[in-house]
Structure formats: structure tokens, C-alpha cells
Symmetry: D2
């Protein structure tokens, strides 16, 4: 490695997204992790909270007040927390990747409608690029500020984008039935995350009204004005992982599976982290989050119903990697001129 590494700090490093950023960045060949903040755990080694990191590198949490300037800052804070201090964050680093929801929506009224409060910094909304590298690569390369998508949002957007763009689907209805793991709800214990209650649950946690519909609509709505999206999310026995089963209808019921293939190939042909999975042998014929744990891949598959024109699209990711931290590092790579896959080459485990 010739040049100086990029100095990167993480605000809010005690959560699962922060831990996953650390796992990836501590082994990223062009990055130096400068600081990780956690007011609650200041002074403690990061490995107390992220035990997979023990022995990797001595690093302890610092208070957020002790944050120093750096080249790029990750914000891994609860929704609604980053926008209030954005001037402060911007003073610390020329580039920011925010993993929370605050700067995902471009319309402050959408924010209010879905998150229930006035947006604190509507003036900054247009300065953040929505961080889907497979769709906004050029903008991300130029960007100083990137908003990382929600995990249901990114997997749904990647699964639907080529089909919507090429007008293969009827705009209504498109139903996203998401199956999610427990890590998505974050690190704070609650009755609903208590193991005896959560283990083996098939909990209809959000049958309607899922906030990520706003992001997906923003990304895909421009391609197809009358798009009508519906999300239901079910929490299942799983820690990491997310599968969306998308039920949609072909605009032309005669469209065949080869045409679907072509649309995906055209959009994702050279994309290193999108994998179209539709095998006719083996147990893993469709996308499977189980084998994606720890990887930055998004697997996409589909099956057309023999009659009636329904197309079932399947999208799978690790919610903490392609759904959060890995995708953010992919954005960092683009923003910094590094190879897109740097630090993100873990292929996943099987069986697991």
C-alpha cells in the first residue's frame, strides 16, 4: 500500500452496525480506524461488546466529545439522532456516511409523515446521495455525504429496480413480504427480544405501515409513476439475514423468464455484489440469507407462475452487511477511489 491510509471514525460504535463496521474496517487494507465513540462504554475495549474482535487490534471506545477530525465519518446512531448535530459532524470530516434514516428521504414532508417529527435540517436533505452503489455509482463517487438505505429498502430496491425500469411489471400491486432476523431490532434488550419470547417466533411485527416503503417509493416511483407498494414484515427465528418475497404481476403475462433474466443482466452485469440465483439443481436454488451471513452479496431470484402472470421475486441479504455496514464500506470505496470490493471479499460460510 503506497499512500497514507484513510482515517475513519465511527460515531455510535457500540451497536451491531458499529460492530460490523469495525469488523470490516479493521481489516480494510486502505483504512485506519481512528476513533470509535460510545458514551455509555467509553474507556472499554471494543471487544467487550464485539467479542469477535478480541485479539484483533487494541481499540477502546471514546466519548463523542473527544471525537477528532478525520477523513471520513460514519454515523451509526438511532433514527432521528444524527440530524440535530449535523453541523458538528460536518466540521469533523469532509465526508460522511450516515447509516441512520435521517437523510434518506429527500422530501421533509415524507420524513414527517413516516417518522412523526419535523425534520431538523431540511436544508441538507438534497446534499445526501442515497447509497445504493448499484444504481447511483457515479453520484456516490462524487458525493461527500451519503445516506445508507434501510435494509428492507435496499434488498427490495435491488430486486425490483431492473423490472420497474424496463416496465416489465404492472405498477400495482407490488407486495413485499419480508422475513427478518432479530439483529435488525438492534442491541437494546426488550421484552420482545427476550430469548424465551423471541426464539422460534413467527411474529407479524409490521403487517402494514413499514417505513421503508417511503424509501423504496422514492427510488422506484420516479421510474413508474403509479407504483403501489405494500410491505409486511415478519420476524422469524434468525439472528442475521433478510429475505424478501415480492409478489408482483407482469405487465405482459407473456413475458417469459428469459426476458426477466435479460433485465437483471443488463442492470447488474458487472456488479460485484449482485448475484442472480436461479438454479435447477441443489438445495439452494433461490436466494438464501443463511449462506450470506457476513457477506456483502445481494442474491436475487425469481419464478413466474404458470398462469395468471404473477412473478415472485426473491431477494436475500445479510441485514448487517449489504443491509448496513458492508454497503456503507462499498460506498466508502467508491467515494475514495478504492476498488469497490476492497475489504468486502468474505464469501460466507456453509453449512452454518
Amino acid at each position: 500500500m503506497g499512500p497514507d491510509p484513510l482515517d475513519v471514525s465511527i460515531v455510535g460504535g457500540s451497536g451491531y452496525a458499529g460492530g460490523e463496521l469495525l469488523r470490516i474496517l479493521l481489516r480494510h487494507p486502505r483504512v485506519r480506524v481512528k476513533q470509535v465513540t460510545s458514551n455509555r462504554c467509553a474507556g472499554q475495549p471494543v471487544a467487550v461488546l464485539h467479542p469477535n474482535l478480541r485479539g484483533l487490534k487494541p481499540l477502546s471506545f471514546v466519548r463523542v466529545d473527544d471525537l477528532e477530525p478525520c477523513d471520513l465519518l460514519f454515523l451509526a446512531l438511532p433514527n432521528g439522532a444524527s440530524m440535530h448535530d449535523m453541523d458538528g459532524w460536518m466540521a469533523k470530516a469532509p465526508k460522511i456516511i450516515d447509516l441512520g434514516a435521517d437523510f434518506r428521504l429527500r422530501d421533509k414532508d415524507h420524513w414527517k409523515r413516516w417518522y412523526g417529527s419535523e425534520h431538523a435540517r431540511p436544508d441538507l436533505l438534497s446534499r445526501f446521495v442515497y447509497g445504493v452503489p448499484e444504481i447511483h455509482e457515479d453520484e456516490i463517487r462524487q458525493a461527500n455525504y451519503v445516506a445508507g438505505p434501510g435494509c428492507e429498502a435496499i434488498v427490495s430496491i435491488l430486486s425490483l429496480f431492473p423490472l420497474v425500469k424496463h416496465r416489465l411489471l404492472k405498477p400495482s400491486p407490488i407486495i413485499i413480504d419480508a422475513k427478518m432476523g432479530s439483529s435488525q431490532a438492534g442491541r437494546t434488550p426488550s421484552e420482545s427480544s427476550h430469548h424465551p419470547e423471541r426464539a422460534g417466533a413467527v411474529r407479524s411485527y409490521k403487517p402494514t405501515g413499514h417505513r421503508h416503503a417511503a424509501e423504496i417509493g422514492q427510488e422506484l416511483g420516479g421510474l413508474c409513476p403509479n407504483l403501489s407498494l405494500h410491505i409486511s414484515a415478519t420476524a422469524i427465528e434468525m439472528v442475521r439475514g433478510l429475505l424478501v418475497t415480492i409478489h408482483a404481476f407482469l405487465d405482459d403475462p407473456e413475458t417469459d423468464e428469459k426476458d426477466i433474466w435479460k433485465a437483471y443482466r443488463r442492470e447488474y452485469g458487472g456488479k460485484p455484489f449482485v448475484r442472480i440465483v436461479k438454479q435447477n439443481q441443489g438445495l439452494y436454488r433461490f436466494p438464501e440469507p443463511k449462506i450470506l451471513q457476513g457477506t456483502n452479496h445481494c442474491e436475487i431470484g425469481f419464478e413466474k407462475e404458470s398462469a395468471g402472470g404473477r412473478l415472485v421475486v426473491l431477494g436475500a441479504i445479510d441485514n448487517l452487511v449489504k443491509g448496513t455496514a458492508g454497503n456503507a464500506v462499498q460506498c466508502l470505496n467508491l467515494m475514495s477511489g478504492f476498488p469497490e470490493t476492497e475489504g468486502l471479499d468474505f464469501p460466507g460460510l456453509h453449512p452454518v
Copy 2:
């Protein structure tokens, strides 16, 4: 107990449905289990295959050739196996409950289309009553021959019947997204049931083309001619249990949740095994298969989307009880003039 108990035998007692029948029937106060057949395990105590029964009652498998006459015969055989010997079964018992698929469809052409072979006994199709006690109680009380529904079918039918009957839904599309456990695939080991592969899987096992669509269409299609049903089934980490997330659209988007409640109340008011679940507190606000393990309950819940008219209906059962063996015993109770709930009063465990 005054009168003689009912003598009941089970053909195909080595599988999970057979074991569950035994668990229920061996403690049913009005039933005596006479024989249980399994050619492969003849001579072995039933507790070798069904270890929960050890110590309960000495009973060993017999060969099917040794089957004696009895009052009521359960057939717990693979799909397509019972129809070939139906004359023989009928000679053994005046009443038969078939847990397999052979006599569920009234139209032999539907059988051929969904099961891929000619039906061996189309002449008998009309003699079997489709065994949903909550809908066909009177017919089942009079019936000598009952066909037990498929597990995805019965939970979907119970979830949709009042809404379709009262014309609350648009007939198209109705999408059933089923989350299923591993016991549904039966007792025979295979690569797909191998623990390292199946554990933690979120396997899109039947994105389209699920056979139970035929049964559901048969039951509900008469109430609403243009019904368009679509099923996708995903195998998740669970042994017992089934949740269907049904995405449908209200015929009149102004229909409110109270109207939905009323329709369910009207149809299921006095039904002992249907529970409408829609709580505003606690962790179990919607139907949850986790707490139904071992019970004959079907829990049904719903949530209306704030805009767009989507209604999400949730239905949960234990696939081996209300989905198979328990529902069959409920039919036996009706066919025999016993109280409907006899032998089926286990309330389920929590936590589990």
C-alpha cells in the same frame, strides 16, 4: 363413560401425522386405539418412533395385512396411496377419515392437473366430505367418509372464508405467503431435511404452483366466482407450526376493521377452535404458531393498511394438529356424536 368406546385403527402410523393421532387418541376418553399399522416397523413398540408416547400404553405396530375390522379407520398415507385400496379400507370400517390428498378434490381433472396422475377412483370423490368442521359441520356429522384438508389449505380457508362469503374482498389478487416448519415435509430424511442444511434456512421452497391452491379454490371459489389465489411457501427455522400472511384488497376501501371483526364473529362465534387475535398490548398481538404447538386452535388476525385498501390477514396453526391429526379427531368427534372438543383440550405452552 357409559357406552363402549369407539374402536379406531390407524393405517400408516409411523409418520408424524400417525404419531400425533396416537398422542391424541390414546388419551381420548371415548376412543380405544385398536391397531396401528406400519409394514416397515411391524412388531416394534410405537414409542420407538414416537418417543413422547413411551410409558403411555403398550402398543406395537402391526402389518397392514393384519388389519382387523373397526369402527373408524384413519388413513395416514402418502398422497396417492389410499385411493388404490379404498375398497379394502371400506370393507374394514364403516367410517373413514383420510388424512392424505386423494379425496380432497371433487373434480378428477383437478386431481390430474395438480397431482400429475389419473385418479384411481373418481367414482368415490363425491362420497367424501371435505373436512373443515367450522364450515361443513352438518355434512361431517352425517358423513361416513371425510377427507382431511391440507395444512396450508385449512388455515387459508379459515382465514378467508368469512371475508369471501360476505364479499368484503376484491376477488383478485389474493396472495397467501406461507411460513412453514420442517415437520410438514414428513418423516423421511433427505438432503433437504439434513439438519446442517435445513437449520436456519429461509428456503423459498414453493414460490409458485403450490397444490393446496386447488383445495382453497374449490372451497372458496363457489362463494366468489372470479377469485384469483396465489400461494408462495417458505420453509423457515421451525419444526411445528404454520403462519399464512394473506395479502388481499378490500372491495370497498372504506370498510373498517370493525366490519371485518363482525364477519369473523358471525361465522366463528361459537366455534371452539377458532380464535380471533388482534390485541393492542403484549407481544402476541397477532396469531403466533409458537404458542399453538400441540393445540387444535386456529388463530386468525388482521390489519388494514392506512391507505390503499390492503388487508393483511394472518392465520396460524400447528400443522400437525389443526393442520392434520387434531382436525381429524375433531371430525371424528362430530361423526360420532361426541363433544367437538373431546381429547383436544391441550392449551399449548408458553414460553417454548
Copy 3:
């Protein structure tokens, strides 16, 4: 049922032991559940916390101050909580079964050593019978006050008692390696019970210093003065269930497995809830907590090492049933002159 039912109340009904008592008692043919207290949840239906009970019987929590006199009182409180108010409890009911640890040890110094505080009521210690019905049946039948054993304690005591009594084992060392589920830690969420952390864990939660050693020593030490017991407990992926793998050494290495059998048969011959499991076919050759969920059975098995005289004894229970609530109801049955198995006949599920 001829005579009036027994009026039973539960103090501390919001926890898992309380819920399990309710599940059993609400269907017990000779018991009427009069009141269930929970200050935190007063006024709420019990089914909000114990969802398996929904639809079973309308019953709401009351404040402990509203407790009325009854025939028998269950105390299901945290360790150290019942002793302070014992006069009050005794004023409410002539018979008490305490599920907590407060009155398990007869020696107040043992209490202090293991629980770290002075015992509040050493004068009452001798009035409580230690509730292992298989060993203290006659005393329990006469008792007004019973202390329910700890779950590791009861399964270990039942597994070892015949061997110690008949002097088949060397007194030292006897090592109890316990594998436990998450429900044992109770209902209160914590970092350690948070699903992403607890799921899939193999956590050495108590390698040494397990408190239940005190109870086991008290029960077995009288039979064999130099007994040296060691416990280690590991939390594994399981909600309900407990297996102890006990490593002991035969006093006479020539003792064969038949002699072991005989000792168990002699002590447990007519006991309805102890099952000696040692099969030479099938998958469930040894005790297995998986199939005991919801049952009051204790399964015991063993295998002698071909050389060296080690005997491995295996004991399995459902920690919430034979380990807590079911065993307490078994004591109630004895104390009340009911059949020992009343209300406790659920045989368990398979597969599950």
C-alpha cells in the same frame, strides 16, 4: 367431581413459573384458581403475559394487597422474597408451596453461604418439607408447607438418589454437567437474554459455584457422608428443558448395568413420573428434554464405560414442569389426597 374444589391462589403470577402453574391448574379437575397476583400487571388479563391461556378462562391479575384467604397458596417469587412476608402468607392459607429457594435449605448458615444474606426466618426452616415427591412422599402428604426444589437440584437428586442410597458410587468426585434453556433465567429481559446474543450460545454460565449444589448435598449427603459434588452449568440453544450429564465412578468397577437398573427399579418402581430410559434402538435411546416439553416426567438413563469404572448418568426434565410448577402440583395432589397424577397427564409432543 363430588366435593368442593380446592381454592388455590398464586402470588407472583406474571413469571414463567406462575404461567405454568396457571396452565396446569386451570385444567386441574379438583382445583379452582381463585386469585393470581402481580402488582406490575394488576388489572390485566393473564393471557396478555401468558398467551397460551387466551380463551381458556377469563382471569386477571390482582394486586398482592388484595389477596384473599384460600385453601392453598403458591408463592412464585424471586429468591429471597418470600421469607420476609411469611407470616402474612401463613395467615392467608393453611397450606403453602413455595417455589423459590427461601425454604429449601434447613441450615440457615448454608443459606447465608450460598445466597449471601442472613435468613429472615430461620425459625421456620424446619417446618418446610423439601418437595421431592419420589423421595419424601409421606412427609409431603402430611405437610402444610413445602419448598419446591431448584430445577437442577431435582433432576440431579432423582438421577443420583438410588445410586447413592445403595452405595453404588464412589462418593467423590461426582460431577454434574448441566445443559440448560433460556426460560430458566426467568422473564426479565437483560443483555444476556437478548435474542441476538443468547441464540445459538453455548455459554459457560456457571462453571463453578452453582447454588443448587447446596440442595443436592443436603438431600444426598445424609446417605453418604463424604459425598463431593461439583456442578457446571452451560446455557444452550433451548427455551425449555434441562439435561444433566452426571459423571461418577462406581464404587465397585465390576458393578454391571443390571445392578444399576435394579437400584432404579427398586426406588422408582411405582413412581408415575420417573422413566428409566435406556433403549437399544431408535434415536431417543437416552433421556431427551426435547420430548419432555410440557410434561412432568423425569427421564433417567445411564451408560457404564467399558473400562475405568466411570458411570455416566443422564437426567432430563422440563425445567418449568418437573423442575418447578408441575412438581409443585404433584405436591399439591399429595397434600390434598388427590391422585398423584391429577392435572399432569400431558404426554409431550414429537416432533417439536
Copy 4:
């Protein structure tokens, strides 16, 4: 990378150990995977069986008859299979690492006693080095032939070696209570691996008579002649991972935990893959296989009982990595003069 990569082939690449070798070797900077054999799957892409490898590199299985010469050959065959063709394997490659049991024991009588057949090539037993790099580093560096240890063996040996070497333990008894995952039983489906049976099991699969006792005795017996080792293995709900809870007794009960630390430090001070874990804060105070999935680490911890001199030693690994494939690549690195950690730097995931 200057010099030519090492050409490596794998015999028996369809199993889980073979898949794990591929995962590691396909990304090893100094290795080129030349061929992978599987007669059953010849012609199929490796990703059909190892779906985590899809997209990684096009590679298909070849028949074993088509095996070509290479620099180093891995044998990943069932126990007892490699020895019969050893001349053939030796003709293909100057260096061999056998992952099976055939060449682990130096004494052919031990082989016969534990594996039940005559050893086919006792003449070669002394030519294989037993592959524990932390103990036999120098021999492995010089070796042409290495036998990879069994997974229970290597974690037990690493956990006990410093304590036995420094005479800190009484030689008898030492009891190894192993908790194992389902991947250890390999890829072939069976009744015992059928998900409904295996899920949630706490199966006493080998209470006595575990074969790995032979290897452990061979390694440690030389350091302490009267060593008496006992193993019991319990299969728990887990796919990957192995924890051994070792119950031993201190030779001098006054030995304190610092002395234990010192012994471990002395032996494993500079060893990259052994981690002594004994924290006084956090949830992961002791070794935990959950966070080791995919890593080559062996975590070792311990706790001394307050009285009686018992020392509980805990050892955790991923059975497919440090227990099999990763450890074998570590041996390859030593045999080839590569850095010991090359290709083995994955730190593991949390939460998972």
C-alpha cells in the same frame, strides 16, 4: 506475490470439510486449487454443493481417477478410506495432509481397538506427524505427511496440554464433556440428522467410548503416565461449533488462577490462533463457539472452584475450521514456509 503458487488438490471435496478447505484455499494468496474430486458429483460445479462459493471461481468436481500430480494433496475422506490407497496418493504429491483418522494413531493396535479393523498400512504410521501446530510446529515444518486431528481431540489437547505438561493437574480423573453441532456428523442425511428430530435435541450421542480419547491419550499420556481421560459427547442445537467443558482436579489445591494463566502464557504466548479468554465483564467471559464460526481460533478459559480443587477448563473451536480444514491449512502454511496465518484471518461474526 513473486513465486509460483502452490498447486493443491483435494480428494473428497463434496463433504463439509472439503467445502471448508475450498472456502479457505480459493482465497489463499499463495495457493492455486488445481483439482477437487468427487466421484458422485463429477462434472458439477462445486457451488452446487457449497453454495457459499457461487460466483467465487468456476471450478467443477472431477473423478478421482482423473487426479493429476500436484504439490500438496488434501485427503478429506471417511475414516478408514485413505489408508488403502496411500501409495497412490503418495505418487501424486510429495506432501499430503490427511483429514481423516487413518494416520492419527501411531500404534496399530490402538487403531484396531478404537476403529474395529486391522490397519492397512501400519508401516506408514510413523511417517505422519500429528497435526497440532501449537505443539508440533517444528515437526510439521519438516513434514511431508501430516494427519489432521479429530475436532474433539484438538480442542481438548490444546486446552489441557499446558496444564498436563506443567504437572498442574491430578492425572485422574479428567472428564471432557463435549457439546457438539450437527455439521460434525458430516453431509450424509440420516434419521438422526433429520431436522424435525435433530432440531432442539440435547442428544447424549456418545456418553462413553468416544474414539478421540485415543488421540488425546497419545498426545498427553507421554507427559503424564497415569492420565485417565473420559469423554462424553452431547449433540446440541448448533450447526458449527464445539465446546468442551473439562472437569479436572488440581494436583495442589492451592494452585491459584494466576499459576494457570502462567502455564497457558508460557506455551501459547506467541501462538496466533490460541486465545486465553477469561474476562470479568461482558457476556462472553468464557470461550464461546458462537463467535468463532468461520475462524481458526481456539479459545481457552478456566475457572477454579472455591473449594475442593476442581478446575473447570473450557475450550471452544469451529469444528470445521480449527477442528478440521483451517487447522489443515495452518499446517500447509508451516509445511510450505508461508506465514502461519495466511488465508486464515477471518475474525468471525457477531451477533450471529
